[in-house]
Symmetry: D2
Amino acid sequence: MSNSNQIPPEVLEWMHRMFEEHIPFNKELGIKIERMEQDGVALRFQMKDKYVGNPIKQILHGGITSSLLDVAGGVAAAVYAFLRLDEHTLEALMQPIGRLGTIDLRVDFLRPGFGTEFIAFGTVMRAGRTVAVTRMELHNEEGLLIAVGTGAYVVG
Amino acid sequence: MSNSNQIPPEVLEWMHRMFEEHIPFNKELGIKIERMEQDGVALRFQMKDKYVGNPIKQILHGGITSSLLDVAGGVAAAVYAFLRLDEHTLEALMQPIGRLGTIDLRVDFLRPGFGTEFIAFGTVMRAGRTVAVTRMELHNEEGLLIAVGTGAYVVG
Amino acid sequence: MSNSNQIPPEVLEWMHRMFEEHIPFNKELGIKIERMEQDGVALRFQMKDKYVGNPIKQILHGGITSSLLDVAGGVAAAVYAFLRLDEHTLEALMQPIGRLGTIDLRVDFLRPGFGTEFIAFGTVMRAGRTVAVTRMELHNEEGLLIAVGTGAYVVG
Amino acid sequence: MSNSNQIPPEVLEWMHRMFEEHIPFNKELGIKIERMEQDGVALRFQMKDKYVGNPIKQILHGGITSSLLDVAGGVAAAVYAFLRLDEHTLEALMQPIGRLGTIDLRVDFLRPGFGTEFIAFGTVMRAGRTVAVTRMELHNEEGLLIAVGTGAYVVG
C-alpha cells in the first residue's frame, strides 16, 4: 500500500548519506539529520571550540548559525522536491536534486549562541513549481531560540 | 598631523589579531584581512576540500559563503564604529567592539562558487547611531562575482 | 495596582490616532489597528480596486503587502518600546517613538493575494536595547496565509 | 537586421502600458518608466502628501519605498525575461509575463525619504533559468540614495 507522503527507506538512506557524508562541509560540521518528513526536517550539531565566534562569550559563530539554517532549509526543500514527484523512486529524485540550490538566505540573530548542542528545524512555506521558500529555526540544547532564517531554493 | 579617517597602526594590529586569531572560526577558516579603510574592507580566504558544498561540482559551501560575507560586514562595521569615536585610541574602541553584533544577514547566491581563493569586500551603507548596514560581495580569484550580501550590525 | 504589561487607555488611544490618522499613507490605506498587546499586534485592511497589482488575477499589489507588513512590524516595535520604559506614561513614550524607524524589511510572497479583507499580525522576536526584530504575517479574510515578513526596527 | 539586446518598439509600448496603466496600484502611484534596457531600468515617481509616512518629518512612507523598489525589480526581471526569449515578439512574451511574480523582497532603509521626486533603478544580478535576482536603488531628486533593495522573481 503506497502513501504519497512517505519517503521510502532507500531514499531516506540515500538522503542521509548525501547530506551527512557526501557534502564535505556538512561532514566536517558533523551534522546529523534527525527527521525528514513532509511537515518538516530537523538536524543536530555538536558545538566544538573551533566553531566559536566570540572568544569572551564562547558563543557560536554567526557563519555556523547561517550554515546550519541553510542546510536545514536545503534538506526541507529536497524532501519537498521528492514528495511532489510522480514517481517516488531514487532515480526520479536525481533531476530535482541536481538542480537544488539556494537562491537567497536571510538569518536573524535573536540571542547569543550559547550551548553545547544545537538543533535546526526547517519547513517549506511556499511550495512552488520551481521555487520553495523555507523557514528555519536554530535552538540550543535547552530549547532556547537562537536564530531564525528564511531561504529560497530552486527545486525544479 | 592627525587624520580622522585613518586607523592608527596599533589599532590596525589589534583588529587583525582579533579578527584573524582570536575568533576561533575565523582562524579555522584562515581568513586574512587585506584592507581596513573607511571606504571599505577586504578579506581573503583559501579554498580547502573540507569547505566544499557540492561534491560533484566541487564548489564552495553556502555556509562558508555566508560566513565570509558576515565577517566582511562585521569588519566594515568595526572600522566604522572606530572611526566615528571622538578619541581614536584602542581603549575607546573597547566599548563599541564589545557591543558589535550581527542583527541580520541576507545572502544572494548568484553563481556556483568555483575557485581556489575568494575575496570578500564590505562597505558601510547606513552609518547610524546604533546600527550600521553593510553591503558585501564575494569574488573568486578570477574576479567573478559569486555572491552578494547585506547585513545589519549593532555598533553602539 | 499596576501591571507592567498593560498599555494605559490614553496611550492606546494616542497610538491609534498616530498610526491610523496622523501617518498619511496609513490613513489613505484605511488601516485599523485591532489589537496592541505585549505578545503581538493585529491590523485590518479593506481591499479596494486601486490596490490591485495584477489586473487579470485581481490580487493585492506586492507594495501594499509590504506596506501592511511594515506597519504591523512598526506597531509591534512601538508597543515593545513602550512596555520596556520605566515609566508607562505618554510623555515617556515620546523619545522612543521619535526614534522609531525601519532598518530593513524582508517580505516573502507565499500565495497570490486574493481577498476582500486582509489582516496583518506582528510580534517581536528580538527584544534588544536599541533594535527590535519582528516577524509578520498577512492573511486574507478566509485565514489563508498570503505573505510573511521580518523587519528590524530602531527602538532606542 | 536584428539586435538581440534590443526591445522592439511595440514591445516597449506594451510594457509601458502594462506597468503604468494596467496595474492599478502602479497607476495610482503615477509611476513612469524612464528606461528599459538590458543593463537596467529606471522609473520615476512624484511625491504627494498622501504618501507621507512621518507627519513631522514629511518623509516618504516605507511602504511606498518598498513598492517602488519592487516595481523596479519586476520591470528589470520582465526585460530580462523578454531578452532571453528565442523570438523577440510580443506573443512570445506572454508566457513569461504570465508567470512573472515576486518571490521575496528585502529593503534597506538608508536615509529618511526627503524629496519631491524619486527615481528607482533596477538591474538583474542573477540571470537564472527560472529565477532572476535583482538589485534596486531609490534616489531622491538630488541624487541622494534613500534605500536599496534586493528581490527574487520567478521568470520562467
